[in-house]
Symmetry: C2
Subunit: 203 residues, 2 copies
DNA sequence: TCCTTTAACCTAACAGTGTTAGCAAAAGTA
DNA sequence: TACTTTTGCTAACACTGTTAGGTTAAAGGA
């Protein structure tokens, strides 16, 4: 490949990331509802159709952010899990990390779960379900096996759904209807729910 | 008031409900994203500005549906609670009823919680928080008091948040990312989560 | 009955949105 | 230099929500 072609690819890449970072800035400053192709075009000082040379449509831009979000949260969860060898501790750490990600990256979380963000087919950028399952299922099975109740694998499947539901439920209620209670109380609710859940696994 | 004025009020009311029922039909057939003022106007065979004689703007129409949704779910919850005198049974019945409402009225639920529906300030049509609290808090306090752990009132406040989070979490995960598992398994997850939660209140 | 006021209803427009057809200029290739 | 590809633009289309302004019909008062 010629040296010129290389430069052009580099420039193309640069424009793409320029579009993305500009779009992201608009989102963080004005929210998802306020993001439009024209606003991006204005901000990067190009005409509107140029955007379409780099992204098929608006959804493609959103899906790119969705991908970033999922990759980000998965990295955090993996790090959290690695922080301990005890399965119960691992579950708690994962829950804490997930919670922290959601509130430190509200824009991502809202997009990923279609909360107030413009509707788009997030499935298209979701990682395999197995990624999340592998992270959470293993410590669960371990806990259930230690407590010796029957079919740990089957049991864990049920508990796995419950685990994510509690987490997502806690977060999305706080996000949609932010109550007037303190940060401290919120953390307490998380702790109560998750430790209660883990205790239930054991007993 | 003259007989003519009465008729006019009646007609005005009729037009309002005509707009609403027509809009609702569009929503159930094509989803929230597809609802537009022009579509409503076409369907009722009037020009667009007529809609604005009956509703201040589009959000006002959405809020009307929001109000209907909240009133509907509250009625269901009250009926569920009345089905038993045992506090634990009451909580289970409320959870079941809430779950049933969500899946029998997906359009309402999505609007009420901003899931994929057009964004609007739902606070404006939400009932007082106390309505939900009064329904759920009382049986909780009763359960905790029977089990005799310390400050039941304070404790119930924490558990109250957890209760709704679990419920909403279960529902919204199933709604956003409908898994391939059966109706039966879903019910099992609900049962597991709620009975686990109640057991935790007691022990 | 005639006149005036008010309510109902419409056309046409404004300012946005996502998206695309088609053209001009620049850049790369032979 | 001549040809081809890429790049970027203007202008438009088909939609949104919303409103200004005018017309027609109905209601109330003399």
């Amino acid at each position: 490949m010629s040296i010129i072609a290389e430069r052009r690819i580099r420039e193309k890449e640069a424009m793409r990331t320029n579009i993305l970072t500009t779009a992201w800035q608009i989102v963080t400053e004005e929210g998802w509802q306020s993001l439009s192709i024209r606003k991006i075009a204005d901000a990067i000082q190009y005409s509107v159709p140029v955007i379409y040379d780099y992204f098929e449509n608006k959804e493609a831009i959103l899906l790119e952010f969705g991908k970033q979000g999922f990759e980000g949260v998965i990295a955090e969860l993996k790090a959290a899990k690695a922080s301990s060898a005890d399965p119960a501790e691992q579950l708690k750490a994962i829950a804490d990390a997930y919670w922290a990600f959601a509130f430190n990256n509200k824009e991502y979380y809202q997009l990923m779960w279609g909360m107030g963000a413009p509707s788009c087919e997030m499935d298209k950028c979701m990682p395999e379900r197995s990624v999340f399952r592998d992270l959470v299922m293993a410590p669960m099975i371990e806990i259930i096996e230690k407590a010796n109740h029957g079919d740990a694998e089957n049991n864990a499947c049920l508990k796995y759904h419950t685990f994510w539901s509690i987490l997502h439920g806690l977060i999305s209620i706080k996000m949609v209807a932010p109550a007037d209670d303190t940060e401290q109380l919120n953390k307490l609710v998380l702790d109560d729910a998750i430790t209660g859940f883990i205790k239930n696994l054991k007993s």
